[in-house]
Symmetry: D3
Subunit: 136 residues, 6 copies
Amino acid sequence: MATVPFSSDPEQDPRVRAVFDDIRATRKTDFINNMWRALAFDPALLERTWGEVKALMATPTALDPLTKEMIYIAVSVANSCGYCVHSHTAAAKAKGMTAEQHAELLAIVSLAAKTNHLATGLQVPVDEVFDLGRGA
Amino acid sequence: MATVPFSSDPEQDPRVRAVFDDIRATRKTDFINNMWRALAFDPALLERTWGEVKALMATPTALDPLTKEMIYIAVSVANSCGYCVHSHTAAAKAKGMTAEQHAELLAIVSLAAKTNHLATGLQVPVDEVFDLGRGA
Amino acid sequence: MATVPFSSDPEQDPRVRAVFDDIRATRKTDFINNMWRALAFDPALLERTWGEVKALMATPTALDPLTKEMIYIAVSVANSCGYCVHSHTAAAKAKGMTAEQHAELLAIVSLAAKTNHLATGLQVPVDEVFDLGRGA
Amino acid sequence: MATVPFSSDPEQDPRVRAVFDDIRATRKTDFINNMWRALAFDPALLERTWGEVKALMATPTALDPLTKEMIYIAVSVANSCGYCVHSHTAAAKAKGMTAEQHAELLAIVSLAAKTNHLATGLQVPVDEVFDLGRGA
Amino acid sequence: MATVPFSSDPEQDPRVRAVFDDIRATRKTDFINNMWRALAFDPALLERTWGEVKALMATPTALDPLTKEMIYIAVSVANSCGYCVHSHTAAAKAKGMTAEQHAELLAIVSLAAKTNHLATGLQVPVDEVFDLGRGA
Amino acid sequence: MATVPFSSDPEQDPRVRAVFDDIRATRKTDFINNMWRALAFDPALLERTWGEVKALMATPTALDPLTKEMIYIAVSVANSCGYCVHSHTAAAKAKGMTAEQHAELLAIVSLAAKTNHLATGLQVPVDEVFDLGRGA
């Protein structure tokens, strides 16, 4: 189920085709996952979203590719996005995440959630030394 | 402000003192941040929470210490825990996180939040190939 | 799947029947969606919930009907309620939401999520001029 | 800080005065906390909100008053509402919540958050036997 | 679907078998739900998670078993964990939760969510009297 | 407090100056709020974020400016971003949001939160007719 229609031939639209071609070339695969097929209902939104994902996640930057995927998974879990957890876990495995690293990622994510809820339940006041914005 | 009383001398309780001593020895600092002072209202909860944090975050494991802190920050941001964002950002900086890495971490966290909301708004069906639990 | 039993004939209960009849009359359709069928397990909860939704969403108020549905969708996405995203997107389309408006709604929701996470990650202090509650 | 102006004399409005009087009588105290002072900017919203809180939280129902406050705190922590955590923790203590019960509440809330994140990270399929809505 | 492989015979691993045996003995049932089958991909994570759940939820403590399950459900709903809502609702029913109590639990959870969003939208300043951490 | 240093003279960096000048020109005010001052720690992140906000929120599009701000507020409340709730409520008021519209916005946001939690607590199955992605 989805909240937008999935076209049977989204690549009839040349803007969609250009994005899909770039996804295939960037990822070196013919597979286009449903996120991009759904976004094809609005070519401008598809272009902007892919452009942003490509620039940050499929381009060499300060952090290594696997670390970036694990951070992405962490946020997706905390935001309860089932689709995103699936797609980025698959991406992390494709980038070499071992079962041991996966288990440790889940252990950290769930421990963080635990102490997040403890700190919020206790309403712990922020220590002065944590203020890195002095002068603000 | 907090939802529990902060004792002026929590280390009168020997269980609290033992945990605080272990925090000081593990982190090689005399500073005990407010999270632990707040948890001191219940020594058993303090012991269990510190034990868990120490085992995962202050002990060598499969992931390197800075990666672990960045994952912790990512979850804390998504769960809107201000205290946790402050304390783990300070910890990440103490472990060498550069301004460039910090900016990239925030860029990934916020991009993930963006696509999390897009995927949820579109109710994108999960692709069959993402199913890693076949046999379930 | 659901956490409450769905009765095969919930309208045997006159209180359920009265609510269902009012839903049909208000929406000018015979269709009763699953939210109300699930709530029928407790007629009092069904009555109060429908009464509140009807008063705000199915009655002329300060905001126009489509704007109200788009606000409802925005909250439902941020709270990760798949059912609610589906039902209110269908309602918004029934009230005239175009594909262009839908795309823009999703663009705003996801941009807001992005800057929400940035502001939380940065722990930006609130500007004094934003204080609208002076005198508090 | 607040996003609405706080009137220095909100009870000049007779609808606000009636609600504040009912809060005082119901709670047997002269103290009106800031939630109600903020809501006074819109008397209709104030009336409806207080009416709903009173009916469920200040009236004898199936669950006992302290259990109800602890459930309220649990949701408020998970939704990161600092104000609500403070006000309902104060209410729970006024209704007899001991330090031990408070610590256990926080332990359950944070353990639930932990396993919530684990189950979401694992995308655990729901067991057939948990389906209580058969026939739907 | 899941993000980890489900083994067809997870109990070949003696650590998994020991945990599953303890779950069966503790719960007096042969049924092992999918959460534990999924966690079996990492026996250490399985052991720690079950140990923690058993100690808090399957052992007599200050709060009674049904109250504990209802608090667990409340957090799971607020964190949008569908699996957890299903499994803990089933557990609460097994511990005697009536339909009336279930309806009231959902009424409190949803009212709390409502006032959480109101307080956050109003940015209500915390009343001084709610500060239970003076001296901090 | 913030997790990044606030420069006392961020406009010494010509990229920051260019963005701040564009904010001033676009908004026709000399005031630069703290969000942008915080983002100035990384000029590239500042440029991209402002560019995106300007294109969607400060440029004529399919939805009118006030509707866009109200949708932004709705998401910010649900994501518990206090800074964002403050800044976008101020923006909505500057664009003409009346007290009546503000009250109704908060009423819808909080009602949506209520039914989001009800639907999640009930685990309501999505009605077939809501499937707008047939063919997927």
